[in-house]
């Protein structure tokens, strides 16, 4: 065939194609041809194309070849977290179960290598009725809606068409306008002695018709939401099969820790391990320095972790020691549960501005105060991050007319300075202590908020109280005449410390104290993520537990005692003398158990025996069985009572069984008090008091 013939033949074929196109077949070949070709085109140099969207298009066109040619549109995808359907993956998951927010962070540790990279999960939640959004934080609020309040079927989650409780951002936003139906700060109630955390008491000020929940149920609801959100994104890797760490405040008492674990169990997370929040913050810092921490810390360091959350202040001291040439971290002390946090600061500013506005004779309504609080939070951050002498504050009218009736004021630098810095972080001496007023006779049932807003005074009290915390550790020596434990480094945690001035002031006050005792100044451990560090640190802890990194030694945060009435002749008008018997020493490590074989008790089967229960964060020399006849008021803190009931199993009712007491710290991190039979292997759990 000649060249000419060849050409002719091809022309014939192409003209045949032309014919068939009229029947619509050609469209397919042409289009798929084109789009595929386009896929592979290199991008223009100056301006980036969006190749990923085109992939979707070419597929859809191949699927429907008969459709007429369209203008090709670029589809912008709405991004959500991807659903990970891969099987056999294993994660280390950390949950920060906060007073105002919950955060989940996770890392894939299937491969078991030393690489650790984690992501904070976007938690799907309702943000308003019928609207579901992913947010990194799940606000720890529950809203108990009226039946007629919300449109039908508007409370829906991607994994549940009818959730029992309204949790998250929507609860917070609805509750901000209807506070009587809002459950908040459930976590603080968990640690509130004198309240049965399993009785439905929240919202505390609600009218009778509002269905109430217990602090325990609220905790359960948050965990359940997070667990379901996780399952939704990881259908083949339920949370119940991952390494799970839940954080609690270091100041949580044994009962509150137990309740947290129980809540986790109730939603199928029975393997969850507890970690103290300040420790988690330090773990997160260790992870983020990527090995640099070895250079930034040294033997003899005492790291002070100051964690100021939305509603609580949590203090911890962690010492750095050396063992066999390896740096060792030991948590040596934790502070008390102080209900004082960032929300107090915003409220304080709002009331300052309110007073200013009311001087002009205007009265503010509650919603305006609330809007002011919100405005002050932003204004405060603006003042701290700029040189502005004042920031205008505007509370727009609630009605559709925005300008009419708008409230206007300003927040000045001086006000922020005097209210926040001088009010919350006053320059005090190390000998100052928090002021506690005698409580008024009439009090509404509520949380025991800190009476003194001076965080520095709380800090001074803590450091002075813990002066002997590191005595037993090698390499940490206090100079003669020291009146408090000298921290050498400070780690901040919590959104409050985004304001540099606040950090600076705290460091300044601390360094003033150190200078008066001729101690070197404390340095700042920088680089921590203030909002998400706790969850990130918790996830990292799951990794560390596999032997992949440095571990902080913790153990029990206090020593624990039961009160025993001493046998003395009764003196009228005097309560019987009480002795404190140590049943769990300070720093008792996970997975250990101790018993006190002497100190026998005759317990009647079927009858409840109650003990007074004490803790101490300073008496670290006491061992199991130490009997205290006398102690200083500040040494021992009385907790809720504990009780033991011997079940009748194999025994006659009324039978007296001789037992001795003991304690165990579970792998999970909770304290168990036990009664052991002196005759056989009988063992009973002593329950933490749950009654009011």
């Amino acid at each position: 065939m000649s060249f000419f013939e060849k050409m002719k033949k091809q022309a014939a074929e192409s003209s045949k194609k032309d014919d068939s196109k009229k029947k619509g077949d050609e469209a397919k070949t042409d289009e798929s041809f084109e789009t595929e070709n386009f896929d592979g085109e290199p991008e223009t140099e100056n301006f980036d194309g969006e190749p990923e969207t085109v992939v979707e298009e070419s597929k859809s066109q191949e699927d429907s070849p008969a459709e007429p040619m369209e203008f090709v549109t670029s589809q912008t995808q709405i991004s959500h977290s991807e659903i990970d359907t891969s099987e056999g993956r294993h994660f280390s998951v950390g949950i920060d179960l906060g007073t105002t927010h919950c955060v989940l962070s996770s890392a894939d540790i299937t491969d078991g290598d030393d690489e650790f990279s984690q992501q904070v999960m976007g938690i799907s939640q309702l943000t308003s009725p019928s609207v579901v959004e992913e947010k990194l934080q799940l606000p720890s609020f529950i809203y108990q809606a009226n039946d007629a309040e919300l449109p039908e079927n508007s409370i829906v989650l991607p994994w549940n068409a009818k959730p029992d409780l309204i949790v998250g951002e929507i609860a917070r936003s609805l509750g901000s306008k209807t506070p009587i139906r809002l459950v908040s700060s459930a976590k603080s109630w968990l640690c509130h002695a004198g309240v049965d955390c399993k009785s439905a008491i929240l919202p505390a000020d609600a009218p009778d018709e509002v269905a109430k929940v217990s602090p325990f149920e609220a905790t359960k609801a948050y965990l359940e939401h997070i667990s379901s959100a996780w399952l939704h994104l990881h259908p083949n890797a339920p949370l119940s099969q991952q390494d799970l760490v839940i954080t609690v405040p270091a100041s949580f008492d044994p009962a509150a820790r137990e309740l947290t674990v129980e809540a986790a169990k109730a939603v199928g997370l029975s393997h969850a391990i507890l970690l103290e929040e300040p420790q988690a913050a330090l773990y997160s810092w260790i992870e983020q320095t990527q090995g640099e921490w070895r250079k930034q810390t040294k033997v003899g360091d005492v790291i002070l972790v100051i964690d100021v959350g939305g509603g609580t202040t949590d203090l911890s001291l962690i010492a750095v020691t050396e063992k066999d040439g390896v740096l060792d971290f030991t948590r040596v002390a934790v502070g008390e549960h102080i209900l004082l946090g960032g929300d107090n600061m915003d409220l304080a500013l709002a009331y300052t501005v309110k007073a200013k506005i009311e001087k002009d004779g205007k009265r503010l309504e509650p919603w305006q105060i609330q809007a002011l609080t919100h405005g002050c939070r932003d204004a405060k951050e603006k003042i701290f991050s700029s040189d502005a002498a004042s920031v205008p504050l505007v509370v727009p009218n609630r009605g559709s007319s925005l300008i009419e009736g708008t409230l206007r004021s300003e927040l000045t630098r001086d006000e922020v300075q005097s209210v926040l810095i001088e009010g919350f972080l006053p320059k005090v001496t190390i000998s100052d202590r928090p002021v506690s007023r005698p409580r008024g006779g009439l009090q509404t049932k509520g949380l025991p908020y800190a009476q003194d807003a001076g965080i520095t005074r709380h800090l001074a009290a803590f450091l002075a109280k813990q002066i002997n915390a590191a005595d037993e550790l090698d390499g940490i020596d206090l100079p003669e005449g020291a009146t408090f434990l000298h921290p050498t480094a400070v780690l901040f945690n919590g959104g409050v410390f985004k304001a540099q001035e606040l950090c600076d002031r705290l460091i300044e006050v601390l360094n003033d104290w150190l200078r008066t005792e001729n101690a070197p100044e404390a340095r700042l451990l920088a680089g921590a993520d203030l909002d998400l560090a706790v969850a990130r640190g918790a996830a990292y802890y799951g990794f560390v537990r596999k032997g992949k990194g440095v571990r902080i030694k913790g153990g029990t945060a206090a020593s624990y005692y039961v009160g025993i009435e001493s046998s003395m002749p009764a003196v009228p008008g005097m309560p019987p003398e009480i002795q404190a018997l140590c049943i769990a020493p300070f720093g008792m490590e996970e997975g250990t158990q101790v018993e006190l074989p002497y100190a026998d008790f005759g317990l009647v089967v079927g009858e409840q025996v109650r003990f007074r229960f004490f803790s101490s964060t300073t008496r670290r020399e006491d061992v199991v069985g130490t009997r205290l006849d006398y102690w200083q008021d500040e040494e021992l803190t009385e907790l809720s009572e504990i009780e033991v009931t011997l079940d009748g199993e194999g025994r006659r009712n009324g039978e007296v069984v001789s037992v001795h007491l003991g304690s165990a710290v579970t792998e999970v991190g909770t304290l168990e008090l036990l009664a052991f039979s002196n005759k056989d292997n009988g063992k009973w759990k002593i329950e933490f008091e749950v009654r009011n």
Partner: protein
């Protein structure tokens, strides 16, 4: 009229080599060449694509009661313009042919324009009103208020709008150079992303000054909504009890 009379029997061998046959042969050759080149280009591009391993954005569908509650925003950007970029010259002929067929054929295929879905637009209005009081502000009679008052609330609106935009979209400028810089647009530049104005004469490369750097949205994070959600309600009426 019998159409078969006009059918050309292409199997016939040409007996004379007249101008029409030369023309026919030439067209055949060009088309054959174009076909081979495009096929070659296709093979090369596919090979290159594999190497590149472009990340694909997967569509994530969230199911509520078995119903997808995802809403996709479709931004009508005529990608066809982009398709013409950097095609070998031979291919342009073919692409143009396709376009011609659509636009100028005696019986044109209907051009289907994509209707914008109102839901996503309404959702954006909802967010702007909810977080920034945007509708309240724009709908208010501004002439009744002093500049000072307007400026005062403008802060609230500006802050809120900025939050909505940052929370739900990611933006990037199109031109990486600064405004005021001189740039040259090479042949095949993306006319959808770059609009030339003024003294447009001749063929690219064009040289000009960047007046506006342009904006493009690189990521959209709109909330999902439940089936049956009334998107027309931008802000519910509020009644305090």
């Amino acid at each position: 009229m019998d159409i078969s009379n006009y059918t050309i029997d292409l199997t016939l061998k040409p007996t004379t080599l007249d101008a029409w046959h030369v023309c026919l042969a030439g067209t055949s050759a060009i088309l054959a060449g174009a076909l081979i080149l495009t096929l070659l280009a296709l093979v090369m591009c596919l090979a290159r694509r594999k190497d590149k391993g472009d990340p694909e954005v997967k569509i994530v569908e969230k199911l509520v009661q078995g119903e997808p509650i995802i809403k996709t925003v479709e931004v009508p950007v005529e990608k066809i313009v982009e398709k013409i970029i950097e095609v070998p010259v031979e291919r342009i002929v073919e692409v143009e042919k396709v376009v011609e067929k659509i636009v100028q054929a005696p019986a044109p295929a209907p051009v289907v324009l994509k209707e914008a879905s109102p839901d996503a637009a309404l959702q954006l209005l909802y967010l702007l009103q909810n977080d920034a009081r945007f509708i309240d502000f724009v709908k208010e009679d501004m002439s009744a208020h002093s500049d000072e008052d307007v400026g005062m609330v403008a802060r609230v609106i500006h802050e809120g709008c900025n939050k909505v935009l940052n929370d739900h979209f990611s933006f990037a400028p199109i031109a990486k150079e600064n405004e005021g810089d001189k740039i040259t647009l090479i042949e095949g530049y993306d006319a959808a992303k770059v609009r030339v104005t003024g003294n447009i004469v001749g063929n690219p490369p064009f040289t000009g000054t960047i007046i506006h750097k342009g904006w493009q949205v690189t990521d959209v994070r709109l909330p999902s909504t439940v089936q049956g959600y009334n998107a027309n309600v931008i802000a519910p009426a509020e009644v305090e009890l």
